[in-house]
Symmetry: C2
Subunit: 413 residues, 2 copies
């Protein structure tokens, strides 16, 4: 019973610790049950398995604007580019979403934490597309009841009711791979009442939570004005019971030391979105500080604030972002190594919110993997590690020969 | 007589000024002789021409180490990774070089300024490969007579003689596309005597010059020690008559204001190599300052200090590098726009050293162009500019449908 995956495996059992081994991995019902004949391996044998990528922050509808409109800062960009696009989504967008999910899977994203739109018909179309393609995902119905354009806003009651409708929809009953996630857009577009309502739903239904925090200085100031009773941005969410070990907070560029300490204590995860942080000129997050503080860290593309849907791009850009801090601002700031960035893209997100843990090859983990063959016509690799580095720096979907999610090979037409 | 190229053309007639037009471009003997029916154009019609990319700084032999060994700073990396590899090149490396040139052309590099090795047999193999594939290029026999490993060093006399042999070789007589370029590696690996010898050859044979400058703080200190009679790094080259309007200086991260002013006055070009500057933790160059000073600026991949041979990567990384200065160090520092970075990759390098000018679509320029079709399954572009942005951010060699150099379609097997 079960399937055997045999070959060379590369992963990070701990953050930043690369392990390469050959073995036979036995998978039953999607889960690794046994690792047989595991021995260290260095030789390049043509291909290797790595854990599938976890994109811990992506806006599925914004893919329509991929690489467009990136000349504005966050709040203007939302008004000019994002809200007009998101507001037009309907249940008819199944085929669009299917293309988005397919491109993500082809590029190695085996798990995604999606923001949808406020419209449930469109969100259900997204869930259906994900189910049909076999990706692992969390999908959020976006909630916005204030400071949003008239054409793209809900009443507080409707937002809460619509969230309940979404999370209890039968569409989630026939799958273990796709789960709903409570999704207040961000503090600016949510009243205190809505945030509290969503906090209660998350608690009652035992659901994970995702939102944005401290992405842009203007946003941070506006939040301070909107929530005078909160001591800081984190406190806005905390007062609504939205901060716990299953919460994903994206960006987090302008958090205070005190906020970082409370985030650490809460067990919630910060999602680093380096491409988006550059693209919208938001700022450069100090991910090393997060890691040193002991905070859980994941990586996200944040399409389409981010200009690329590839997690390889997220890995590369995370390295550049942290190097820029070291080179320009703080010589004592230790940049992320390529292996650490790879860790964040696999283990970091994979163990963050615990649906079924993924991100490394160990007994008990679900088996989500990419089979990679990275070659080029002018290098002949003798070390598998060299081919792996080649893939990290110069790989793309062409080098991902198989995508396996929950032990199942994903097939593309 | 001549060929007509008809369609949509995108270029920057001035740095950072995007122009999109439809026209018929007439090309005779590789040169644009007439632009017929030129009208502004905004509609997406499936594909467009852009000027071919100019990689103004690339080490052809180092492609063997692409994406490897990037955990060391410059001087250690040269010793551990670069010199051992370069020293092994021979005349038998024709097929290797052919693969390198082919990959570059496929990725849109229609002109490259190559560093070879010290061995002329290998350099001639490189020239032959370039000629056979039809690329436009400058090729430099690398000169090193000091502070280099025993297994990879020349005597001063041999370096000069070997340079003379190379530049007068018959291989250059049957081509207008490939030219020799005088190439002292950098001040550390050249004696004053060698530099002066090379300066004389460049003057006598009217040849362009390429080298490195101020890439790394340790390098800069070492140069200061080695050349106590020079007032700064630039002066080392200047005293040897190596600084003029046909000189390319790569990196230039740590130049003084005075050096920048003298570079401006000399008319020489600075080559920005953002990927390499990040990869080797060299520093982040203030390209905006160069532009504001009126200095000519080109862009280079600097493989394999740079981890990618794609000029699209160089464009993207140039944007990130300049954004990081703005975000971390100097709010008044204006980051490069995507259009400016595109300009540097085409017009900047194309007009820098003036073999035959390329880089924009104007009468009198040589016609080096890429025909690009950028589509994806979830965006349907109505504006050609949007498709162009998609290519800049998410394009790769698959979207470059035709490469035209000197009016001739390049065919790959």
């Amino acid at each position: 019973m079960g399937d055997i995956f045999k070959g060379t495996f590369i992963h990070t059992p701990q953050l930043g610790q690369l392990e390469i081994f050959s073995a036979q991995i036995k998978v039953i019902n999607g889960v690794i049950t046994e690792i047989i004949d595991k021995i260290p391996c260095t030789d390049h044998k043509g291909g290797f398995y790595i854990p599938g990528f976890v994109d811990a922050h992506i806006h599925a509808p914004q893919t329509r604007n991929l690489s467009l409109g990136l000349d504005k800062p966050l709040l203007q960009w939302l008004d000019s580019t994002t809200f007009p696009t998101e507001s037009k989504f309907t249940g008819d967008d199944y085929l669009f979403y299917k293309q988005v999910v397919k491109q993500l899977v082809k590029n190695g994203t085996t798990t995604a934490c999606y923001f949808g739109t406020i419209q449930n018909e469109a969100n259900l179309a997204l869930v259906q597309a994900i189910k049909d393609l076999g990706q692992r995902a969390f999908v959020g119905k976006v909630c916005m009841d204030s400071n949003s354009p008239q054409y793209y806003i809900e009443s507080t009651d409707n937002s809460v009711a619509s969230t309940l409708d979404f999370i209890t929809n039968d569409i989630f009953k026939s799958t273990n791979l796709v789960k709903p996630i409570i999704t207040p857009r961000f503090a600016i577009s949510c009243t205190k009442e809505l945030l509290k309502g969503l906090g209660k739903i998350a608690y009652k239904h035992d659901l994970p939570i995702q939102t944005h925090i401290s992405e842009n200085p203007d946003e941070v100031s506006f939040v301070k004005k909107l929530f005078p009773d909160s001591k800081d941005y984190l406190d806005v969410y905390d007062q609504a019971s939205l901060i716990n070990q299953r919460t994903l907070l994206a960006h987090a560029i302008y958090l205070s030391e005190d906020e970082l300490q409370r985030i650490k204590a809460s067990g919630c995860t910060l999602v680093h979105c380096p491409n988006s942080n550059f693209s919208l000129n938001s700022g450069i997050a100090r991910t090393r500080d997060w890691l040193e503080c002991g905070i859980k860290v994941a990586l996200g593309t944040d399409v389409s604030g981010g200009s690329s849907l590839s997690m390889l791009n997220a890995i590369q850009t995370a390295i550049l972002a942290s190097k820029s801090i070291n080179l320009l601002k703080d010589q004592n700031y230790k940049p992320l190594t390529p292996i650490e960035a790879f860790s964040l893209a696999t283990l970091g997100g994979g163990t963050a919110i615990g649906n079924r843990n993924v991100g490394k090859f160990e007994v008990g983990m679900a088996f989500d993997a990419l089979f990679v063959e990275y070659e080029n016509p002018f290098q002949s690799f003798t070390q598998v590690e060299d081919s792996f580095y080649g893939f990290l720096y110069n790989g793309d979907d062409r080098h991902i020969k198989n995508v396996i999610i929950n032990g199942r090979n994903i097939h593309f037409d």
